[in-house]
């Protein structure tokens, strides 16, 4: 669509302290109003052009406050795109930014295509003519790339799932449409209960998929973080301490070995993939060696290393050996067991690992965790650590999730219509919408599929 309202995260994903969700289009102001609770009495709709409003983004479903934000309103034509533009400035980190974007999409905005703000700015006369060629080149190139990434993802289980959703929807739609276009043929009547059951089941499956998106996203985007140290310095306690803080967004990853346990936590909006490695030391034990090699592998991949030392004992050769392996990494040194008498030499540690913060903690008592989190956040926002995944992969994830969420919304409409006693031809309107949303993931439209389905599913015609 040409003039609908679009939204996207318009700042670079990783190293910024503040992120912006930009919304552009005729309905951008009422749309954002649906999730914005201003601090003062003045609603967003009453805000003047080029003003900043302070308030909270609130999830309208749960009533939960998502973030404290500044919202700027720029009315067309005096905005970047020459349309009504609303920008939500959030400082809550990537996850919060994503949540804000999702809420805006939930209000009815469409996720912007690659380069779409620029395209609109150009179409509305806000960008120099000389850039037209470049814009055209970018549109297809970017779309092509996004599509390739999307296709790659769809080869897996996601592809199987969406294909199944489409099959179910298409067969229902074809059934309804066939009975409408061929009322005199002996097509079995669709029993309302059966349809409702199938829709409920489908909706459940779709919702389950939506949830896995959240998890999958965390995994993809998380900063690879390895907790290393000698055996029994308290690594597992630290992991538990971090998990305890963030119980809500923890994901357990199936298939991990007992040697490297992987968890995802959200540290003040920054997703971390935490790998609790087996303690590293020289050993003759064959089984333990395998675990240690895995730990070293995890260390290789890590964007951030949490190096844990038992502070209640002097530094040993084993500690120094590990330091050798992590010297080139981003490291936070954790001096554990701060509740006991400190015997490890902080001076030596600082000499061994110059310029890396040393944080005293007690993993067991969960002391000092706040300071650790602060350091992680600082490093993240200063661009010292970032996730190494490609951003487009993430973007298409949001696109996919949004598509499925909208499909669920359409299913709700269908079930509402059925309950209200609306006729079948009304059901099929929203069933088709649901299909189109899922089809957007793979770039297919119902138009091409429906006729074929009707005539292969039913025997019709004079």
């Amino acid at each position: 669509m040409l003039y609908d309202t679009i939204a996207a995260i318009s700042t670079a994903m990783a190293p910024a302290g503040i992120g912006i969700v930009r919304v552009s289009g005729e309905d951008s102001i009422p749309l954002v109003s649906g999730i914005f609770r201003p601090k003062g009495k003045k609603p967003l709709s009453a805000a003047g052009s080029h003003t900043l409003q302070y308030g909270h983004v609130v999830d309208p479903m749960s009533g939960r406050i998502i973030d404290e934000v500044l919202v700027s309103v720029m009315k067309g034509p005096n905005s970047f795109t020459a349309e009504n533009v609303v920008e939500i400035n959030s400082h809550g980190g990537i996850l919060v930014l994503r949540k804000v974007l999702e809420l805006v999409l939930g209000q009815g905005a469409r996720l912007a295509e690659p380069g779409e703000f620029t395209k609109r700015a150009f179409l509305n006369g806000r960008i120099e003519l000389s850039q037209a060629e470049a814009i055209m080149d970018v549109i297809n190139a970017k779309t092509e790339r996004a599509l390739q990434l999307s296709v790659r993802q769809l080869e897996g289980r996601l592809g199987e799932k969406t294909a199944r959703f489409k099959d179910i929807l298409l067969s229902l739609i074809a059934h309804i449409e066939a009975s409408i276009d061929y009322p005199e043929y002996d097509i079995e009547e669709l029993a309302v209960e059966t349809v409702m059951d199938r829709l409920e089941a489908l909706k459940g499956d779709m919702q389950a998929l939506v949830e896995t998106f959240d998890q999958g996203r965390m995994l993809k985007e998380g900063i690879n973080t390895a907790i290393v140290g000698k055996p029994n310095v308290g690594k597992s306690s630290l992991l538990n301490a971090l998990l305890q803080e963030q119980r809500a967004i923890v994901t357990e990853i199936p298939g991990t070995t007992r040697d490297t346990l992987e968890e995802v936590v959200n540290i003040q909006g920054i997703p971390l993939r935490l790998v609790d490695t087996a303690g590293i030391r020289d050993t003759e034990d064959h089984v333990e060696r395998i675990g240690i090699e895995r730990s070293l592998g995890a260390l290789q991949k890590a964007d951030l290393v949490l190096f844990m030392v038992d502070g209640s004992r002097p530094l040993e050769e084993g500690d120094r050996a590990i330091v050798e392996r992590i010297k080139d990494k981003k490291v936070i040194v954790l001096l554990n067991k701060m509740d006991l008498e400190v015997k490890a030499s902080q001076k030596e540690l600082r000499e061994l690992l110059t310029d890396h913060p040393v944080v005293p903690v007690s993993a067991k008592n969960r002391e000092g965790i706040g300071l650790l989190e602060h350091h992680i956040k600082e490093m993240f926002f200063h661009g010292e650590i970032e996730n190494t995944e490609e951003q487009e992969v993430l973007l298409s994830n949001v696109r996919h999730k949004n598509a499925v969420v909208q499909a669920v919304g359409s299913l709700d409409h269908v079930m509402e219509a059925i309950r209200a006693g609306m006729p079948e031809d009304c059901w099929s309107i929203d069933l088709k919408n649901a299909y189109e949303r899922i089809g957007e993931i793979t770039g297919e439209s119902i138009k091409e599929d429906l006729m074929g389905q009707i005539f292969s599913q039913f025997c019709l015609g004079k």
Partner: protein, 632 residues
Amino acid sequence: MQYLEGNYDVVVVGAGHAGCEAALASARLGLETLVFAISLDSIAMMPCNPNIGGTSKGHLVREIDALGGEMGKNIDKTYIQTRMLNKGKGPAVHSLRAQADKYRYSLEMRKVMENTPHLRLRQAEVTEIVQQDGKVLGVGTASGAFYGAKAVVVATGTYLKAKCIFGDVSVESGPNGLQAAKHLTGSLLGAGIELFRFKTGTPARVDRRSVDFTRMEEQRGDEKVVPFSFLNRPEDIRREQISCWLTYTNAQTHRVIRENLDRSPLYSGVIEGTGPRYCPSIEDKVVRFHDKERHQVFLEPEGEDTNELYVQGMSSSLPEDVQIAMLRTLPGMEQVQIMRNGYAIEYDCINPLQLKHTLEFKEISGLFSAGQFNGSSGYEEAAAQGLVAGANAGLKVLGRPPLLVDRSEGYVGVLIDDLVTKGTNEPYRMMTSRAEYRLLLRQDNADIRLTPKAYEAGLVSKERYAGLQRKMEQIGAEIRRLRKTMVGPSDQVQELLAAHGSTPLRSGISLEELLKRPELDYGKLAPIDGERAPLGEDVVEQVEIQVKFSGYIDRQQNQVAQYRKLEKRLLPEDLEYEKIKSLRIEAVQKLEKIRPVSIGQASRISGVSPADISVLLVYLEQHKRTGEVWKK
């Protein structure tokens, strides 16, 4: 030697359902119009099923009527049974269908044609479309005459190089044994027109006296007759209705068919044309749906004064002896006598992508086409295109703006846009599922949607238009009144609600809100609606539908608003797509071939992606700003 027989404004080639509407529309615009038929006894002939309307096709007939066409009036004069299909479903898919007396249908249409001023009928085979430098000049006939014309409408149906086939019998003839048009194809190819070869088929006709109806289910018409034409009232056209009959195929039928498949021209490869998916022959059905134990077969009278019955569901091109054998396996048809064989027919038609929405050829000014010649199927599809082609031929001669119906305004618009934008690789049949704004395109409101357009084009009278305006005002006023009229939880109201199983009121509510409840209707609310003025049934129907489905209607109207924005972004006719580097190659090829008029149309072309559309938009803006003038 060719001689000049005469000069006309508009010449129509063919007098089937498309040709008749085309000729009438042109003549009604006051243009001197000549229409050719291969036989004047075959005007508006129904060579296949003896009915008009049905799902989506009934919508088309109502739209034809709303646009001032003849099909609706003619079937109202000649129907022998009528039914409103899909009554159990929503109003958008209620579909009117009538069984026709096909002989009287043809006769009555001929009467209208013969008595329409400015219209002349001529029996002859047109062999040549005469054109020069991309502009049509007239037509030539097999008898050596040339007829000058400012515009020509080709509506040759299934006659072009027609071949009828059953078993190993293959006859070069049009439907019903009528003479085929063998020469026009060459002239069309010479003019650079791309042709397809399509296939369709028809079942056998049997003698009523040889059928035992006691072993079949009777299919009666509706008590309540609904006319096709908005100008007719039910009481004007009421009549005694004639029944159809339902029987079924069985295992024995399927066995006969299977054992003789090798004798079918479809399976032996004799037939090369593309057959439609939605009109399979019985042998197709048995092969493709081999698990299905039985298929329905309807016996439909071909007219009041004939014993011929049409065997719907048994379309076949199997050899004659197999057709007899398989029909005699049906309950009640053990002794059946065939009067005419079923057959498959192959014919030449055009690739409709060569046409504009006006149904004029893009490359040949003044040459229009309609009906099965355009790759469609069905009487109603043909008539709808005929009306649009004929009207536009006339309007072009008059130098007036064309008659255009878009996808949000009518099935006519969906039909034509599909043909000229997406093309077709099988005879195109209208279906309600092809219309994306189905809830708005109802058969009950075709007049509201289209008659104002027809009035503007000069196709309907001022009186008719004024009558429509009165109706629309009444609808609007009544909805406003219902919205304003509040009722409270009085005893009378609560009793009425209880009587209809409706939830009692807790506070005041408007009549409009009450009417939205599925269990209530306008009539049921009468006792608690004292101020109600008597209104026509058609007005009440509109009020009721618009109120009850307002949620869906509003949503679809929003979609239409979006759709229209894209339709209004016009693409220059001479845009050179290959010069736009950033378009994908597939898109360039499709865009070059179809040359869409708008961004909206471009977006419906398969092979043109949303990203390509974005590129086009940027390109258009770039050129608008450089002020580059498009070469004309």
